[in-house]
Amino acid sequence: MKKLISIILAGMAVLAISACTKTDNYDGPNASFQGNIISTAGGNLPTSSGSTQIKLQQIGWTTPQTIPSKFDGTFEDTKLFKGGYRVIPTGGAFWPVYDTITVNIAQGTRHDFTVTPYIVIKNFTATLTGTTLNITYDIDAPIVAGLPTIKDTQPYVNTTKLVGTGASIRDFSDVNAVTINKDFIDMSAAEKSRTLTVPNLIPGRTFFVRVGVRLSDSYNSSNFSNIIEIDVPK
């Protein structure tokens, strides 16, 4: 009897061990996709969190996935499954791109997208007077006809280089927004040359500042300026 039990136990042990030796013959998500979102106005498209993204749909699958753009207009995802994908930049603030392109994504695949921004912010300056920040900039539109209505413009102030929508200090940023609600074509030259002030910055601190212009497109998206670092003296 004892012998029988030990044989059964031994048999079970052999089965238990051998049952685990099957290997997964699918590759892990070891493909990557990266690149730039290039603005036709020159350089990368300045973006912020929660807007510009690359939408990918793997051929043969139904659920799309997205790669959010980084603030400098680059994007990167290193955990993708190898295969053919339909890709398209989306989320604004640029003239919609309708042609998806198909990319075979493998290790180290690179692709650059070129988009035409709705609004380009030029001559952005930010100068400090005491604790008050004076901001000047000009807004320009590469294509005027059919441009969505401009809703408002505002400064974005944060204590890190990650500054934009959803990454700013409300009392310095959203509070200082200026409503425009006008079509670009109806704006006078004076209205296109903007000034903003951010009062009562905290002495002895470093802030990062940029400005944005928000449009009433499908995503209520914003075009952004570059980022300027401001040291408020003690």
């Binding site: 139904t62 659920t63 799309p64 919609p96 809703k151 959203d174 009433s216 499908s218 995503y219 209520n220």
Partner: protein, 616 residues
């Protein structure tokens, strides 16, 4: 010998089994209802219909529009009918500024994956089966039930059309054995779905009798629903063709209707509403007390205003918890409240007189004096400071000012730490013998006391004894369709069609009952505002701002306000300050939320549902 016995037994067993095995087992199973059992009698059909009515997409007390922010952690979301669905404060009103509630912002736009094709299949079976049972049910009986089935099918499709736009129209029970290519049906265009809903409701109107048991449809229920649905379609056509998110589904007509179709839909809404003329009337049993009258409108079962209601019962384990979750614990036996009417809603009725002409806050001897001169309907919709319920007073008080000078605006603009008020985290703290905050809030310690200075009054059953007001014990019916809404549908359609005269008469009927001053003329803004006031908290405004395509402007980094009562100690007076609601949350409606995404699980089962709605 023994083995021979065994052999004989084995042989006879084999023989026996092989002889009987050739007989086909053809006994009707006792545990499965065949179509004869169900469709040969009214009783059988009633039990079949019960599920179909229970599953209707009626946005009632229990409706949870999303699973965001922990909603539905008690078990499920969407259209609920269980015995413990007690999270009424996760309501649509709390995501769009009628109230502020547990939602952390506008985050219910993704919906909950409503996909009622199981119920639609049951309706389709009913429509296919009923004509075969005319002998038992009589032809009249079959026709009436067919009308009811068309109404039910329209209601299910309406629930989907307003969420997704175009969905596959399926009118026959699909054969599960059919090939995959026939089962994976493509989306129909949005316009085709609305036209289908209109046609189904026309059939319902034509075939159903004029009266029905409470909770079941009749021809006028179909007409009333048609006025609601066609108004939605008309607005999608008119406003959705200028304010939309671009994408494949839009271009293909799955999300969006050509603007040219708007007028016909407005006309259909107007005509459907007009069918109810003289059949229903506004509840006006106690015209001498207009506040009480408006309160009772939502609590009296035999109101002539009720067109279609949904009932609840403790015995059947379907009771709801409105009473226990809309008032704070102070007035109830258990549970708590978490969503509160905003000052923004209250000010639709006009600005409250809380500030003097020089900007200083008006001094009140008594909290309750704030209610003086307000429209009865407003007082019956919202509990103001000083109102009473079950013998107790709504004693809202945010804090105490030892003394107060200056203007209201200047005080509210100050940083909190430079204001001279005394606040408290609990109701026990006293200042010079006076309670600092009210038993009913407002405070910031949690959200079970008001964040805005107001509480919901509509639908709250004031007759119940406090000790009985517990969870899952409320049985007042939800009025899904009431005549006031039909009048408002009619007025809105009339204004859109350029018939402001008709709209004025409709609106003034409502205003007279509400105790408001009558209008001399109306325009679209007035009609829409009347709708917001009359139908507040009834899960209408959410869909209104969606179909008007104004949600992205109304909820554009929106913050909502409350009215905070304070006691001024050295004057022994009360003042009221309009301040941001105490959590000061931000609400933004992303434009793609005008449509919900087709549920991902359904797309993987049927890739022909692609393209998904724009932005998803």
């Amino acid at each position: 010998m023994k083995s021979i016995h065994k052999l004989i037994i084995a042989l006879s067993l084999t023989a026996g089994v092989s002889v009987t095995s050739c007989q086909k087992l053809n006994v009707p199973p006792k545990n499965i209802f065949t179509s004869d059992v169900i469709f040969n009698s009214q009783a059988g059909i009633q039990s079949f219909l019960a599920t179909l009515y229970q599953d209707l997409p009626i946005e009632d007390f229990k409706y949870l529009p999303s699973s965001a922010d922990g909603a539905g952690s008690g078990g499920g979301y969407g259209f609920l009918h269980g015995g413990n669905d007690w999270t009424e404060f996760y309501n649509e009103a709390g995501a769009i500024g009628e109230e502020v509630g547990p939602w952390s912002g506008f985050n219910i736009g993704g919906g909950f994956g409503f996909w009622p094709y199981g119920d639609i299949r049951n309706v389709n079976i009913m429509i296919a089966e009923l004509p075969k049972h005319a002998t038992q049910l009589t032809q009249t009986g079959v026709d009436a039930l067919l009308g009811e089935a068309h109404f039910l099918r329209a209601y299910y499709y309406f629930g989907m059309a307003k969420r997704y736009g175009g969905v596959p129209i399926i009118t026959v029970p699909q054969d599960p054995g059919a090939s995959l290519s026939t089962l994976q049906v493509h989306r129909d265009k949005e316009q085709a779905v609305w036209d289908f809903i209109g046609a189904e409701l026309d059939l319902g109107y034509k075939m159903m009798p004029a009266t029905s048991d409470a909770g079941r449809a009749n021809k006028y229920v179909a007409a009333a629903l048609k006025s609601r649905a066609m108004l939605y379609a008309a607005c999608v056509a008119k406003y959705g063709s200028t304010n939309f998110v671009d994408g494949e589904a839009h271009t293909a007509g799955f999300a969006g209707i050509p603007a040219s179709a708007a007028t016909a839909y407005f006309q259909a809404a107007y005509d459907a509403a007009k069918l109810l003329d003289g059949v229903y009337s506004l509840y006006n049993a106690t015209p001498g007390d207009k506040v009480q009258n408006y309160v009772d409108l939502f609590l009296k079962p035999n109101s002539p205003e009720n067109i279609f209601i949904k009932q609840y019962s403790k015995a059947n384990n379907t009771a709801h918890s409105w009473d226990a979750t809309m008032s704070p614990r102070y007035f109830t036996a258990d549970a708590l409240s978490r969503s509160y009417p905003t000052l923004d809603l209250v000010q639709l009725w006009g600005n409250l007189q809380v500030t003097n002409s020089d900007g200083t806050p008006k001094r009140f001897d008594n909290r309750a004096d704030i209610q003086q001169g307000l429209e009865p309907r407003l007082l019956a919709t919202v509990y103001f400071p000083g109102a009473t319920l079950r013998g107790l007073t709504f004693d809202m008080q945010r804090g105490i000012y030892p003394s107060f000078s200056g203007t209201a605006a200047a005080e509210v603009a100050k940083q909190p730490n430079s204001r001279s008020y005394i606040l408290s985290g609990d109701t026990k703290t006293l200042y010079q013998g006076k309670q600092v905050i009210g038993f009913t809030g407002p405070w910031t310690g949690g959200d079970e006391l008001t964040r805005t200075g107001f509480y919901v009054r509509k639908y709250v059953d004031y007759n119940r004894v406090q000790a009985t007001v517990g969870l899952n014990s409320s049985v007042q019916p939800w009025i899904d369709l009431r005549y006031a809404e039909v009048l408002l549908n009619r007025a809105e359609a009339a204004v859109e069609l350029g018939n402001a005269g008709d709209a004025l008469a409709d609106i003034n009927q409502i205003r007279a009952r509400a105790g408001a001053t009558l209008y001399g003329s109306v325009d679209l803004t007035k009609v829409r505002n009347e709708r917001r006031m009359e139908l507040a908290f009834e899960n209408q405004y959410y869909w209104d701002i969606k179909r008007w395509r104004t949600a992205d402007q109304v909820l554009d980094r929106a913050h909502f306000k409350g009215l905070m009562p304070y006691y001024v100690y050295d004057e022994n007076k009360y003042i009221f300050l309009a301040e941001p609601e105490l959590f000061n949350r931000e609400y933004t409606f992303p434009k793609q939320s005008y449509y919900e995404p087709i549920p991902g699980g359904e797309i993987s089962k049927n890739p022909n549902l692609l393209p998904n709605n724009p932005g998803y």
